[in-house]
Amino acid sequence: SAVISQKPSRDICQRGTSLTIQCQVDSQVTMMFWYRQQPGQSLTLIATANQGSEATYESGFVIDKFPISRPNLTFSTLTVSNMSPEDSSIYLCSVDRGPTEAFFGQGTRLTVV
């Protein structure tokens, strides 16, 4: 099964700055997914990233705030831009493993101060 490496595992950032989260998969995958996990809240899909095309964003998420890159079939980045304390969350990347199964990386715990 796939191995997903996500970096950084945690970070503390100043408001107004940006953080780029990296996700590396050890096998080629068509789609990569980015989620946000807020304290006490559901896992929420931010966007789906396909290689060679623009990411598809879910309702409530916009490219200016969460730009995504997908330069090849094993790598993606999510940037959290112009951060505010409300962006403090765990950010997770995921790939498909079997029908309708999400296989997650270990997540990035972001704290904005």
């Binding site: 559901s42 309708t100 199964e101 999400a102 296989f103």
Partner: protein
Amino acid sequence: QQQVKQSPQSLIVQKGGIPIINCAYENTAFDYFPWYQQFPGKGPALLIAIRPDVSEKKEGRFTISFNKSAKQFSLHIMDSQPGDSATYFCAASNYGGSQGNLIFGKGTKLSVKP
């Protein structure tokens, strides 16, 4: 229509107890109901899943009970152990295809005391 409501938010049981976590969904088109387990500092991982053609599914100490008419499903953990302490998420979707349609509950933080 797209919500999955999960309860309780947190749960504390003694070792050997049987914690029960409940979920309710609204969309009758859903036909796939997985549970994910998340340990601190890790991403969620698929634990067990059920489809509506059966009312119960067991895998080891974990059992899903499914009530289609009530649009509810629950996770039971038999003979719970401290190592089961984790956050559990239920989810619902249409089976097949990618994960993009998974709708997750808000999670239940389970603590199993020795």
